[in-house]
């Protein structure tokens, strides 16, 4: 018998937001704190119903900041917590996101991106939080942001977000957009045996020997759950390996650099991207999320017209997949970067792609998706 025995998959027709919630539960999430915000609210709706069914906890907090604080508190007790929000809420959470980075606490933050700065276009698509995800909180910190493009991928990337958060002791972002959050499509739910749930490193040393940021155990030191006998101190101040504040310049430098290495030294497990017809491509297209779906159609249309175009689709937007861009850049004469913002990811592409050819954007911020025809026109222009 074939050893790739076909699993009986549950087939669903759910919205992206529902997929996020169900994937979180599959990913071991039993604690959700949130605040109502369009277009992410359905995630909270589903979590409020589903979590008590699996003896989990849902709480609607008084504001976005509190929701972020609550999931960090929950994480310290050993939960795999999540919150979900959208642009303005993501802005409000930024200080506590920095805190989670600083104290190295695993958690997952979903941002269903909407249009515009400020209140903007609450019910419409945007992809304009690319740079907010990277630089939104003050100070330097590592960042992981996952940008799935299909609901099946939303499911697997949400589970992966929990695993990465746990493995690397840090917050992980899942950036989808209003289109992905609200569209419904057929998804085969994987059997739990088909994915792994990875837990945070926990101390093996007895409490009296526990050092919460002991880098001699690697760049991701074990983290002790509250109320398990390990009494440790946590502060957002720069701290030494014991967790207590320090202003020693060498220690501050060392610890901040160690935090960054959690991402830069684990690209093999973090970085993810997809390629479509890039092998012989003469025109490269780089797009993520729902815009990448339009780009696929544009590329197929371009091929029909004799233009060899190909798509590179970052699934990890941060860290940005540098090597694949470099590789693509070597054999294309131009790169087209469609994104539902006024040009954010394109900075990364320009930084990496060098001078082999023009890098041009296709940018829309009116709340409607970038259509395949618009990408095709740009491909034809540079071909």
């Amino acid at each position: 018998m074939d050893n790739t025995e076909t699993k009986e998959h549950q087939v669903v027709f759910w919205s992206g937001n529902q997929i996020v919630a169900e994937a979180a539960i599959a990913g071991g999430c039993r604690f959700f704190a949130g605040y109502p915000i369009t277009p992410s609210s359905e995630i909270a709706h589903v979590m409020s119903k589903r979590l008590p069914e699996v003896r989990g906890k849902f709480i609607q907090m008084e504001d976005e900041i509190a929701a972020m604080g609550a999931i960090i508190g929950a994480s310290l007790t050993g939960e795999r917590p999540m919150t979900a929000t959208s642009g303005p809420g993501f802005s409000l959470k930024q200080e506590n996101i920095g805190y989670a980075c600083m104290i190295e606490t695993p958690c997952v933050i979903v941002n269903v991106m909407r249009g515009g700065p400020s209140t903007g276009l609450p019910t419409a698509l945007g992809q304009a939080d690319v740079m907010q995800a990277r630089w939104g909180t003050h100070g330097d910190r590592p960042v992981i942001a996952l940008t799935p493009a299909y609901l099946e991928e939303v499911y697997s990337e949400v589970i992966r977000a929990f695993n990465l958060a746990e493995m690397l002791r840090m917050p992980v972002f899942v950036l989808i957009d209003e289109v992905l959050g609200h569209l419904s499509e057929r998804v085969e739910i994987p059997d739990p045996s088909e994915y792994e749930l990875i837990e945070r490193p926990r101390p093996i040393a007895p409490p009296e020997e526990y050092v919460p940021y002991d880098s001699s155990l690697g760049d991701v030191p074990p983290i002790a759950d509250y109320f398990t006998g390990y009494r440790w101190h946590t502060t957002g101040l720069n701290h030494d390996k014991t967790g207590f504040p320090t202003t020693d310049p060498d220690i501050c430098q060392f610890e901040e650099e160690r935090m960054m290495r959690k991402v830069t030294n684990h690209l093999d497990i973090i970085e993810s991207y997809d390629e479509f017809m890039t092998e012989d491509a003469e025109i490269g297209v780089i797009a993520f999320g729902s815009t990448a779906r339009a780009a696929m159609v544009a590329i197929a249309d371009a091929r029909d017209r004799g233009i060899k175009a190909g798509l590179l689709r970052p699934i990890t937007l941060w860290p940005f997949p540098e090597e694949p861009v470099r590789k693509l850049d070597q054999h294309v004469k131009a790169i087209v970067v469609p994104e539902a913002n006024l040009g954010q990811m394109i900075y990364e592409v320009e930084r990496i792609a060098g001078c082999n050819g023009p890098v041009v954007g296709v940018n829309k911020v009116g709340g409607v998706p970038i259509y395949p025809g618009e990408i095709l026109s740009k491909i034809e222009e540079v071909a």
Binding site: P52, I59, M68, G69, A70, A74, T77, Y99, R231
Partner: protein, 273 residues
């Protein structure tokens, strides 16, 4: 009678960073005596703070200590408590931390009635940042940002907490450590959200600008401004003007506690499956 509060201290982190004569020491001592009297294990306590002088106290306590962001301690505490309702969660906060930047979390924690004990050290000033006026600075008082006298109407924190739905509200002051310990112990054992406001002295930042630079003078001045709740019952509003009523101000043991109420949500969801 000598309570063993040193068991709860991280002695290797003493001496502390507070000014000589600061009231926070009296308050921490009262908290630790209360823990000791209740025989609470340090392994079962999460002690959480925001930012400010008061909020530096967790660093000296040998328990699960979390020094969070400015004003947000209650939100972190809610996450800890809601995850582990069987454990003790105590928050300590200054007047600026709790009532200004953290005001929203304060009122909503009161409303939610989650079983957290909040100790607010009210010293009428932002101490750590250099003596700016706070939401509890009295009218007319001088601060780094009210050099011509404060015109910003102060909050009555205890009344605010009571109005917002806290089910245990008490006010103590640093001039009476024994009463303070009793009020804190009452809050720790109360099932629901407890607020203990403690009138305290910041002679460095508040006193120095208001002719009360000596800690003893300021502590005495605070003591003189207080009236016991029993005595206050017999006083007219005119007589109570400018006075702080101290003692147990409010307790409601009937209102459901949040985590217990949520257990019913879980049970309902289980039955419906």
């Amino acid at each position: 009678m000598h309570a063993s509060y040193t068991n709860y201290l991280r002695m290797d982190h003493i001496p502390h960073m507070w000014c000589p004569g600061c009231g926070i020491g009296i308050i921490i001592k009262a908290v630790l005596r209360a823990f000791d009297a209740l025989e609470w294990s340090a392994d079962d306590i999460a002690f959480i703070s925001g930012i400010g002088c008061t909020s530096r106290s967790p660093g000296y306590l040998d328990m699960h200590t979390l020094h969070t962001t400015h004003g947000r301690a209650l939100s972190f505490a809610t996450g800890v408590k809601f995850s582990r309702p069987d454990k003790h969660v105590v928050v300590i906060s200054g007047d600026g931390d709790a009532a200004a930047i953290g005001g929203n979390h304060l009122i909503h924690s009161c409303r939610r009635n989650i079983d957290i004990t909040l100790i607010i050290v009210n010293n009428y000033i932002y101490g750590m940042t250099g003596g700016q006026y706070s939401p509890t600075t009295p009218i007319g008082a001088r601060a780094a940002t009210s050099p011509w006298g404060n015109v910003d109407t102060p909050f009555n924190i205890s009344e605010l907490a009571k109005g917002a739905g806290a089910t245990y509200v008490a006010r103590g002051y640093v001039g009476s450590g024994v009463q303070l310990e009793r009020l804190i112990r009452g809050g720790l054992t109360h099932k629901g959200f407890s607020v203990i406001e403690v009138l305290s002295n910041c002679h460095t930042q508040f006193g120095r600008r208001n002719r009360l630079a000596d800690p003893i003078d300021l502590i005495n001045s605070i003591s003189e401004s207080t009236v016991n709740v029993k005595k206050a019952e017999k006083m007219s509003p005119e007589e109570l003007k400018g006075k702080y009523i101290v003692g147990l101000l409010h307790q409601d043991e009937e209102h459901p506690e949040y985590c217990e109420a949520y257990e019913q949500v879980i049970e309902r969801a289980q039955l419906a499956r």
